[in-house]
Amino acid sequence: MHRIFLNSIVLLVGLFAATASFADSSTAHDGVAPSAGNAAAAAAVEKKGFIADYDNIFIVKGGPEAKPTTEIKPLEWNWVDKLFYNPMGWINSFTDQLGPEVEQPIEFPHDRHAGDPGKVNPDGKTGDGINCMYCHTFARRSLTAGIPPLRKCIGCHQNIPSVRDTPRIVKLFEYWDAGKPIPWKKVHDLPDYVRFNHERHIQRFVFKQERPYKEVCGYCHGDVASMTVARRQRTLSMGFCVNCHKKNHSLDSTYTKAGHGPNDCFMCHK
């Protein structure tokens, strides 16, 4: 029922916005100019029959000479954009931008582990500045970032007697002794028809462009280092993804030196 209601609102707003955005040409920042390079590539393909060789592929505009964009800004829209350009996102912003609060079996203090060592957390302790990928170790080589095995927690915590008796650690060792994995609940959960690839994003932004991992991870996950239990900070809606991915339409999903994300439905929905 909730969905039907929501959909009908979207319909109405959409109808309104459809007429309104004729005037809204300022949002055409993704305009695509006709490219001579494309035509040349097409001609090359034509000339050689139906097999193009690799050399001709690279003459397309936005090829190797095009510099990758190094600027990542969090998604910020003013209310005009929200209303006219992005009514769905606008409605979402009232509802579940952060998602529900998820109760985890152990209230894991991200701030204590990953937080800035110089900063004092609400519980009066400073962070340890551990790299996200120390625990979420699969992010750089798998689709999923992965939850660390219990062994990993124990590996450190058996050597930290000072907190051994705190309730959370006691609970942790209870799981360990019982030999049971901790039933964490998913916070950043996408619908099942969307496939986000952690590996590709980490490889590109952390290892290729050498950005700070906190910025890269934080772009989607927010400043987890300041949270205890992780909470969703972004809508993680399709518009959120497309905001980066749509930036240059002339680049395809398959381009090897692409500066931009693919803009191909089949990349994530399959």
Binding site: V102, P149, R151, W184, D192
Partner: protein
């Protein structure tokens, strides 16, 4: 291949709680609300090869048929998701058939038995394995060894060896190896003619293949290997595309791929073979005197009259056989399935000798130097022997494994009735099949994807090989056991001193392999662990090929001089049609009937799914007044079944054909009540030499019942027509060379 040294331990702790199953939806669902679990996969350290979201490949061996293909499973988050062929195996070279793919659904089948069951009246009662073993021990006490019988399918490898040991340990217990459909007669004929039961075939090197009912692309011996050879044969590696001629009464998949499908009167295959020899001689081909003498009487006229194959086609075939050498002549299920099956097969093998193929396209097979793990196969004659024993009360305890005799036995065996006379019946099985329904104790087995083992295929390509079957996943149900585990536990009851040192079958297998590592090709310096890791990760041990040759001498064939073939069958007025039970490449003898993929995969020839059918030639159909979809009663002297009609030109007008393996009364939701069981109307007529049941010898009559169904098939109302469209095209040319193609 990945390191799987510690895999079993890993799998043990992996468990199912960890594997979140993605049952995706794109209906009304939106972003989830935090109810989905994500758990760390184990409490142990995550091995490198178990990264969530990343596939890992583990090698194993396919056990869906006895072909012995090596496979690897794509495993992700502890679940086997897909099976592919292992490129290292000479048998299947990285390929896998549909049947092999479907092992997944045998593994994840919802109808598997999960606990040992003990009969309580009509009900089964769940018991523990300890109770089960105690019960078996109890029942075996006071029983003489000779009163215990094992009925298994084809066995090989270390389970075979353990079984033999257990049979020995019991005293004089009997082991009956029984396969419902197996080329027993061909084996015997080959043994006589070439000196080996199953010579290695070089279809790829032959320029002409004449196959007498051998469905080598469908369900005969090692279809994956043969199909690969067939592809090379078609391409023609030496500059000429191979020509396939199929001689049979019912079109099989191989027949449908033949350049010429010769429809022959049932049972006259041997006559045709001798007729070919005679015609070859007449054309000036150098036919050895012995063979010429035998074939002397089979003149062209007589052959046309008796076999129904036109003289024109025979002439063309003879011409091409003379012109293009080497060729290869195969004897298959259709030729051997008669009372004179051995004679038929002998006549056809003779043709190979005459054409000089022996030693060229038919060579000595490889064999493993360990007789105790060699494959043990048996035909239907063993079932008769067992059934007689049971009838006479000689069997007190019966174990069955890997076969479903209640389903596959022909009625005159009275297996089900005789089974009642056995006081204690133990059935080791995956499903509640027909035999399990009769059992006193049902022991649930591991699926082949969660069990360890080894096997030696009967037909080996290139080199001798031992296949290692590796567990690809943790047990789905904790209360199932592997066949090897069960045997080991039973052996521990008898010979504790010898076997108590093995914790489970895995330990036994590892020990057996490691002990013989030098014989298995490892250098003596290799450490046990490295050898074992290497072996398991490769999934296959290749042993050097034998250099022996098949005997090519005609004179060496015993009883050749006595070779006489009966004339073509006389018309039987009461039962006018020959019944040809057809081996479906999907469900085989019915053991795979509970796999939904295979049920939904259309029969290649008729495109029928989820049912069995009777193929009737159009002229016969008009005589009988039936059309497609009519239900007819097919009655033999032994029984009658009802089955729907598929009018089909690829069958001799005197014959009708029904696929085997359908018509289960139990087994599971996908198999039950699908089609009719053709085994139930097979007459007990035996091959005169080997005593094997003559599968094709049954005569039936077909009567219309008046009922009608819509036949469930993939082809549309237009049948195999193309309505004038250019959809499937064909070139008919001579001496094509495709070998230069990419």
């Amino acid at each position: 291949m990945e390191n799987n040294f510690n895999r079993r331990d890993f799998l043990k702790v992996l468990g199912w709680g960890g594997a979140a199953v993605t049952l995706s939806a794109c209906g009304n669902t939106s972003v989830e609300n935090g109810t989905e679990f994500v758990t760390s996969h184990s409490t142990e350290a995550m091995p490198e090869y178990a990264i969530p979201g990343v596939y890992v490949h583990f090698n194993s061996t396919c056990a869906q048929c006895d072909g012995g293909c090596s496979i690897f499973g794509r495993v992700r988050e502890g679940r086997v998701l897909k099976l592919e062929g292992n490129p290292e195996s000479p048998i299947n070279k990285g390929k896998i058939c549909g049947l092999g793919q479907a092992a997944l659904q045998a593994h994840y089948n919802p109808d598997r038995i999960t606990h040992p069951m003990l009969r309580k009246g009509d009900q089964g009662e769940t018991i523990t394995w300890d109770q089960a073993f105690a019960l078996i021990k109890d029942k075996l006490t006071g029983v003489e060894g000779g009163e215990v019988a094992f009925l298994t399918g084809a066995t090989s490898g270390h389970t075979g060896a353990l079984l033999k040991n257990y049979v020995d340990a019991l005293g004089s217990a009997k082991h009956y190896a029984y396969e419902a459909v197996t080329p027993t007669v061909v084996r015997a004929a080959n043994k006589k003619s070439y000196g080996v039961e199953m010579p290695r075939l070089h279809i790829d090197k032959a320029r002409v293949v004449v196959s007498f009912g051998a469905d080598f692309l469908g369900a005969w011996v090692s279809p994956v290997n043969f199909t690969q050879q067939y592809a090379k044969f078609r391409k023609g590696s030496d500059g000429m595309r191979g020509v396939l001629v199929q001689v049979e009464s019912k079109m099989t998949l191989t027949g449908a791929n033949a350049d010429r499908w010769l429809c022959i009167r049932p049972g006259t295959e041997g006559i045709y073979a001798l007729g070919l020899i005679n015609a070859l001689g007449a054309k000036g081909f150098k036919v050895p005197a012995t063979a010429a003498t035998i074939a002397r009487d089979y003149t062209a006229e007589r052959v046309v009259q008796e076999t129904g194959v036109s003289a024109e086609h025979t002439e063309k075939l003879v011409a091409i056989l003379m012109q293009r050498t080497p060729s290869l002549v195969l004897v298959g299920t259709a030729a051997e399935g008669y009372a004179h099956g051995s004679e038929n097969a002998a006549a056809i093998t003779l043709l190979n000798h005459v054409l000089g193929n022996v030693g060229k396209t038919m060579v000595y097979p490889a064999s493993v130097p360990f007789p105790q793990i060699e494959p043990k196969a048996g035909g239907r004659n063993t079932l008769h022997a067992l059934s007689d024993d049971m009838k006479q009360g000689k069997v007190k305890v019966l174990f069955t494994y890997g076969s479903n005799p209640v389903f596959t036995s022909n009625p005159s065996v009275e297996f089900k009735e005789n089974l009642q006379k056995v006081p204690f019946k133990v059935v080791l099985t995956h499903y509640r099949d027909e035999t399990a329904m009769e059992a006193d104790l049902v022991l649930p087995l591991d699926s082949v994807l969660e069990d360890w083992g080894s096997s030696v295929p009967e037909y080996m390509a290139e080199t001798a090989q031992i296949n290692i079957q590796q567990a690809l996943s943790e047990r789905l149900y904790p209360e199932t056991r592997g066949f090897g585990d069960v045997l080991l536990a039973l052996l521990k009851q008898r010979r504790p001193a010898e076997y108590d040192k093995y914790e489970d079958f895995y330990a036994y297998l590892r020990n057996a392999m490691v002990t013989n590592k030098v014989a298995l090709g490892a250098s003596s310096g290799t450490s046990d662990d490295i050898f074992w890791r290497d072996t398991v990760s490769r999934g296959i041990i290749k042993l050097p090929a034998t250099t022996a040759k098949v005997s090519g001498k005609l004179a060496a064939i015993p009883s050749l001089a006595k070779l006489t073939l009966p004339n073509a069958f006389a018309v039987d007025e009461a039962y006018p049609f020959h019944l040809i039970p057809y081996t479906s490449a999907h469900v085989r003898d019915g053991r795979h009937a509970n796999i939904p993929w295979l049920q939904e995969s259309p029969d290649p020839i008729t495109t029928i799914v989820w049912d069995s059918w009777i193929e009737i030639h159009p002229t016969t159909a008009i005589k009988l007044g039936v059309v497609e979809g009519d239900i007819v009663e097919v009655a033999s002297r032994s029984g009658a079944i009802k089955v729907m009609v598929y009018v089909f030109k690829g069958i001799h007008p005197d014959a009708v054909s029904i696929p085997m393996g359908y018509g289960h009364e139990a087994m599971g939701r996908y198999a039950k009540n699908v089609g009719s069981n053709v085994f139930k109307i097979l007459d007990s007529i035996f091959d005169r030499e080997t005593g094997e049941l003559a599968l094709h010898e049954t005569r039936v009559k077909v009567t219309k019942t008046g009922q009608k169904v819509r036949i469930v098939k993939d082809e549309g109302p237009y049948g195999g027509g193309q309505a004038g469209k250019r959809i499937a095209l064909r070139k008919t040319t001579d001496k094509v060379n495709l070998s230069k193609e990419v």
